[in-house]
């Protein structure tokens, strides 16, 4: 049974992730009054990348790209197997760390600055991600997804502020505007493509596919707040992702200074307020 679940996850997740990326691109295009690419364009892109020559600056860059992919897959599988949420977050960290190390291994100032910015992004979102998990713990008494799913309340009702904070850092995690400064879907930023600037061909394809897995994981995470009702959860995920696209299109790219301030001060503040409230509600 587990083997089947794992296989299904590994095979289905990139399809779903790719389709989400395709829908994202179409909606983004429409928001900019463009026709936009076909729905399957992300797949065409990746297939094209896979067919290209792998050109690199250093020997082990591609290694990190593959590591990034593999750890993202492992993290998603762990999520689907309903393991401990904190552990899943740490595995996710491992995935991001490989991306950062890949960027730092190349001797390019642009990718290295991108790596530092990504690290700052980790600094910004990690406390909030962990806080949301801890908030869930306060409500359900467990860090394990299998236990969280058993609860018959909707977590969102207890953790609305944490959900807001979570969607806020989701923008950082998905590297969408206004927080797309470590790398972006467009080369038009001061770091060109930041983290991924020295990647090309199949290794870049690996990173793209890893993004799909990551997107699926993060959206499932968002769905966890509505886990007791599947339809509500799917609707919430859709609304959540639409909001991300909307924000992507109505905001300028901010700087990491502003991001750090906004996540650590108001972001963590509302997270803490929510945590204190559920702590008092369930533990005092």
């Amino acid at each position: 049974m587990n083997i089947q679940i794992i296989a299904a996850t590994i095979l289905l997740a990139p399809v779903i992730g790719g389709l989400i990326a395709g829908i994202d691109r179409i909606i983004t295009a429409r928001m900019q009054h463009r026709v936009g690419p076909p729905l399957l364009q992300p797949f065409y892109d990746v297939l094209k990348l896979l067919g290209k020559e792998n050109i690199a600056v250093t020997n082990d860059q591609s290694l990190y790209a593959v590591l990034y992919l593999v750890f993202n897959v492992i993290t998603l599988v762990m999520f689907v197997l309903q393991m401990d949420l904190l552990l899943i977050l740490f595995m996710l960290l491992l995935a991001v760390a490989s991306l950062v190390l890949g960027a730092m291994s190349a001797n390019s100032p642009f990718s290295k600055i991108g790596a530092q910015r990504e690290l700052i992004a980790i600094l910004a979102y990690e406390p909030i991600l962990i806080s949301s998990v801890v908030g869930m713990y306060f409500v359900t008494g467990s860090f394990s997804i299998s236990r969280i799913l058993q609860i018959d309340r909707m977590l969102f009702i207890d953790l609305p502020l944490l959900f807001i904070a979570f969607t806020y850092v989701l923008t950082i995690k998905l590297r969408k505007s206004p927080f797309d400064f470590s790398t972006s879907h467009h080369g038009h930023q001061e770091l060109v493509k930041g983290l991924t600037i020295e990647y090309s061909g199949p290794s870049l394809a690996m990173i793209e596919i890893a993004h799909w897995y990551e997107t699926v994981l993060l959206l499932l995470f968002a769905g966890l707040f509505f886990a007791n009702n599947l339809y509500v959860a799917v609707a919430a995920i859709a609304i959540c992702y639409f909001a991300e696209i909307l924000v992507d299109n109505i905001a300028a790219r901010l700087t990491w200074q502003i991001m750090l301030k906004s996540t650590w001060i108001p972001g963590l503040l509302i997270a803490v307020v929510n945590m204190v409230w559920v702590y008092i509600k369930y533990h005092v």
Binding site: I74, D84, K112, I113, E126, S144
Partner: protein, 634 residues
């Protein structure tokens, strides 16, 4: 049998220290050090095989020992007094007198009485013994080659290595004594010996900075020593015993709260918790094996050991909660400060302080998993940190700098060392290695103390930042770098062994926990019957079973290598430098000709000003300490 092992582990290193001091021949010294190292490792393993035990010393021998140790303790205070006058430091002089007078008065009060069960070897001692007697000797062996090169760079007329190795051996002997002694007076004596040794080792290079930092270490640790001796006097006045195992059986916490607070304070100074962290940072001027020794297996772990030893007495009290808070605060603050450091050794030092804070937090949380995590962290941190320090030392000797920014292309220049250092850093940061798991447990168990948990969350985010910078630098590629690594068995050998140990301890975390920590928990926390052990044996940490995770990681890595071989770049290009490359890392500028592009990690020097932040952190931590004592003394 056990008493011979005790002799081998405590007295032999001390005796050989005297011999090494007297005979300055290098070859003889090397043989001595290697021999002691071997003996220590073997004896530690043997003593663990024997199992938990008390060692009793009776009659004249016991009396003589009591007097000798008293005399030696007084002598240490006198030495400190001497240095107080030599350095013209009133604080040091006052502290040494403040230690001397209670010491003498107390011994007169108890009439120089001893404890029959002079040594107590339980599972906590065993964990410490493993750490001290495996990592410590490996560092000593490493130092043989290191000190040779170190003195070569110093251009000394006469070698001072005999002082160095004598102190190291004395240090190891004292640590062994410290973790096994059952007489709290003896613990205090060994405690003071480690203080003295660290003072000598930090000041070893005799430079101005070294002496100033050695003095600071002595002052801060003597402050801890004073707290310690006052704590002992308090304990005696309350419960009339100086035997540790008897103190631990005292169930009425409120009676012992004040002395325990004093002992915790002593532990804080030794374990360099904020606001006492400055001595450990200053200790970075010492030769790197010293840093490794101080940070991994000895000295700072002595403070942790003391708090861990007495934690069963005060767990669940205000003292424990406040200590956990101060520990967590140290964890977060030191991690934040580590971000601003460019000096690789100082980064490691802050990381140590931070991890010690986490250990103290875990020790002070009333949760069985917290105890597991605390004990695991002591070992895992000790191993990884020893590896990291020794690697940085090797790099420093090879490139002549300990600045992280000078370590570009270290991968090509010192492949083995860089690999081991990266391994060490990864074992401190990433799953499935144990240190991260203890952090995870830290968050899970502190759910009952939200502020503590919050600090741990913030701290782990900062930790990621500075470790990732560190690893990234070690792994960064520089095509122009040339290999300069020279291999020696006694130089990189210990590094490799420690790296293997780090891997093994992480893989066999569960087995280790069941073998050492579970019995310790059942004896120290659940009353001392062996039948309770099955209750505290664990099969995994909330779903985390290290061998499985290592297997998954290994399979993933295998998969990665297969994919990687398929993906291996066929063609190499120069990095993007806005279209103006004139070399791999060089660009052409119309105004200046060829120019090297550079990159420096972020240190946030304008925001994270170390000086100002330290001041702030010290103030907050001092305030917390004052609150702690204020409430207890009420």
């Amino acid at each position: 049998m056990v008493s011979y092992l005790l002799l081998a582990m405590i007295l032999l290193p001390m005796l050989l220290a005297a011999v090494v001091l007297a005979v300055t021949d290098r070859r003889f010294r090397n043989v001595c050090v290697l021999m002691v190292s071997g003996i220590l490792m073997v004896s530690a393993l043997l003593i663990i095989k024997t199992g938990a035990a008390f060692v009793e010393i009776h009659g004249t021998l016991a009396e003589v020992l009591d007097y000798v140790i008293f005399a030696a303790d007084v002598a240490i205070s006198l030495i400190a007094l001497y240095f107080g006058f030599k350095f013209r430091s009133i604080v040091l002089a006052v502290l040494s007198i403040a230690q001397l007078i209670p010491l003498v008065l107390f011994h007169i009060q108890i009439n120089f009485a001893g404890v029959e069960k002079a040594f107590h070897i339980d599972h906590l001692s065993m964990i410490m013994l493993l750490l001290v007697n495996i990592i410590g000797p490996l560092i000593a062996v490493y130092a043989l080659h290191y000190m040779q090169e170190h003195e070569h760079h110093q251009h000394l007329t006469a070698s001072r290595q005999h002082y160095f190795f004598a102190t190291i051996l004395l240090f190891l002997g004292a640590m062994n004594g410290l973790v096994m002694a059952n007489n709290i007076n003896w613990i205090h004596f060994f405690w003071e010996v480690t203080t003295l040794c660290s003072f000598l080792l930090i000041g070893h290079d005799q430079t101005e900075a070294a002496l100033a930092n050695a003095k600071r270490a002595l002052i801060i640790n003597f402050f801890g020593g004073v707290a310690f001796i006052l704590g002992i006097m308090f304990i005696y006045s309350r419960v009339h015993t100086i035997a540790v195992h008897e103190i631990l059986t005292y169930s009425d916490v409120s009676v012992l709260l004040i002395p325990m607070a004093l002992l915790v304070l002593a532990g804080f100074t030794k374990s360099a918790q904020i606001p006492f962290q400055s001595w450990l940072l200053g200790a970075m001027v010492a030769p790197t094996p010293v840093s490794a020794l101080l940070h991994s297996s000895t000295m700072v772990k002595a403070g942790i050991y003391l708090i861990f030893r007495f934690a069963p007495v005060f767990l669940g009290t205000w003292l424990a909660d406040m200590s956990a808070l101060i520990g967590a605060f140290t964890f977060a603050a030191a991690a934040l400060l580590a971000i601003s450091q460019t000096n690789a050794k100082r980064i490691l030092a802050y990381s140590t302080i931070s991890n010690l804070g986490l250990m103290i937090t875990l020790i002070c949380i009333l949760d069985i998993y917290a105890i597991y995590a605390a004990a695991l962290l002591i070992v895992l941190h000790g191993v990884s940190k020893a590896l990291l320090f020794l690697c940085v030392g090797t790099i420093e000797q090879a490139i002549g700098s300990r600045d992280l920014e000078d370590m570009d292309g270290i991968r090509q220049r010192l492949p083995l060392t860089a690999f081991l250092a990266t391994f060490g850093a990864i074992s401190m940061l990433l799953p499935p290695f144990g240190v991260l798991i203890t952090k995870w447990i830290g968050i899970e168990v502190t759910a009952s103390l939200p502020p503590v948990m919050f600090l741990i969350i913030l701290g782990s985010a900062c930790t990621v930042f500075f470790w990732a910078k560190f690893i990234g630098k070690l792994l960064s590629h520089n095509p122009e770098a040339e290999k300069i690594e020279t291999l020696f068995l006694t130089y990189q050998g210990p590094l490799a062994i420690i790296a293997v140990l780090a891997l093994i301890t992480s893989i066999f975390m569960i087995e280790f926990s069941n073998m050492f920590i579970a019995p310790f928990i059942s004896s120290a926390y659940l009353g001392s019957s062996d039948q309770t052990i099955p209750n505290v044996l664990i099969s995994d940490f909330a779903g985390f079973y290290p061998p499985a995770f290592f297997a998954v990681t290994a399979i993933a890595l295998l998969l990665v290598f297969i994919l990687y071989n398929w993906l291996k770049p066929k063609r190499y290009v120069q990095p993007f430098l806005s279209g103006e490359n004139s070399g791999h890392n060089q660009f052409y500028s119309l105004s200046d000709g060829k120019f090297n592009a550079g990159f420096r990690n972020y240190y946030f020097s304008s925001v994270l000003n170390e000086h100002k932040l330290t001041y702030l952190m010290n103030s907050i931590a001092s305030a917390l300490l004052i609150v702690l004592f204020g409430v207890i003394l009420r």
